[in-house]
């Protein structure tokens, strides 16, 4: 899908380009719907049915139901929209950062503080 163009590789980083936008459209559209409190409640009532309503594929659905952020990114999720899903579960950016880096939340926060030294 990359038209033969070489993509820039930055370790641990995905640029949300056309390939990602194509792959992740249904997942991101579902997350965009979480701007509405009514939709958030509907999702919590039956998560699987809500994923189906937005046409998520098996990979996306599995990633959402297991709440694995790296898997959601691999399935085309965009950080800004995924944050709305995280918000439903009360996850802040340090929770999400810790999960993705395999660190404890305390260790992740310490890493952020260390970056300022």
């Amino acid at each position: 899908m990359n038209n033969g163009k070489q993509k820039r590789v930055i370790p641990g980083t995905t640029m949300f380009d056309g390939d990602q936008a194509r792959k992740g459209y249904a997942l991101n559209k579902m997350c965009f719907s979480f701007n509405s409190a009514g939709n958030r409640a509907e999702f919590l009532k039956d998560k699987e049915a809500y994923c189906d309503k937005y046409g998520l594929n098996a990979q996306q659905k599995k990633a959402v139901l297991s709440l694995q952020v790296l898997d959601m990114l691999a399935a085309g999720g965009n950080a800004y929209y995924l944050a709305k899903l995280g918000g439903i579960f009360g996850l802040d950016m340090q929770d999400i950062g810790a999960q993705q880096t395999g660190m404890t939340k305390e260790a992740f926060k310490a890493k952020l503080i260390a970056a300022g030294k």
Binding site: G12, T13, M15, D17, Y81, D92
Partner: protein, 279 residues
Amino acid sequence: MAKIIGGISVTHVPYIGRAIAHNLQQDPYWKPFFDGFPPVHQWLAKVKPDVAVVIYNDHGLNFFLDKMPTFAVGAAPEYHNADEGWGIPTLPPYRGELDLSWHMIDSLVEEEFDIVTCQEMLVDHAFTLPLELLWPKQKSCPLRTVPVCINTVQFPLPKPARCFKFGQAIGRAIESWDSDARVVVIGTGGLSHQLDGQRAGFINKEFDLMFMEKLITDPLWVTRYSIADLVELTGTQGVELLMWLTTRGALPGEVAKVHSNYHIPISNTASGLLAMETV
């Protein structure tokens, strides 16, 4: 003609909204961030702008991937904030400045910036929080506003050099507006941070500090970098520094630094504040 009194660039981390709502300005975590603002408040009280052109990036409140403009300009009498899904308070509406909006639209398209125009436009935390920080404890923002949105959600993003030129075109539009208004340009976002991927938590203090210094003395410095370079150097969301660059482009000629502040971390972000006065 309208006068550009200066520009202010500032971080827009959503949790700032919660800190303001809970009066945490003096809390040890937040104090180094909020302490940056009083000198800028004093300057604003002196220069008294009455219109703010706010250059920001939407995070999935007004725009979705179904239609994703690279550059969009608001042309609404009023701009509403709304539920963004992550539990920060929704703020009261902001007054528009329709004459400037349409003058900017005419002028920008004439200069071949084929922007999207929005007669209805929800504004997210990236628009609202900087105004809250700069004009705190008011029932509503005392300035009339024009939102300018730049895509940082879906790549390709506009190149740094293009953003600088876009800013210059915004500056020329403001300065050719037949009005006695005093205009401040506000750019929001950054500085270095990355929310997603195994590299989440990436921050680059050295680059940020260099960028802030060069924005005053040599704003074209950062245009040597591609968007991919900036992602590598500042993180996937650090590219929001494009708002700072666009703001600097809108300021005519040389600028003097009024005040700056830089603190790590606010949430996962290196927070920055830079007020610049036109000379």
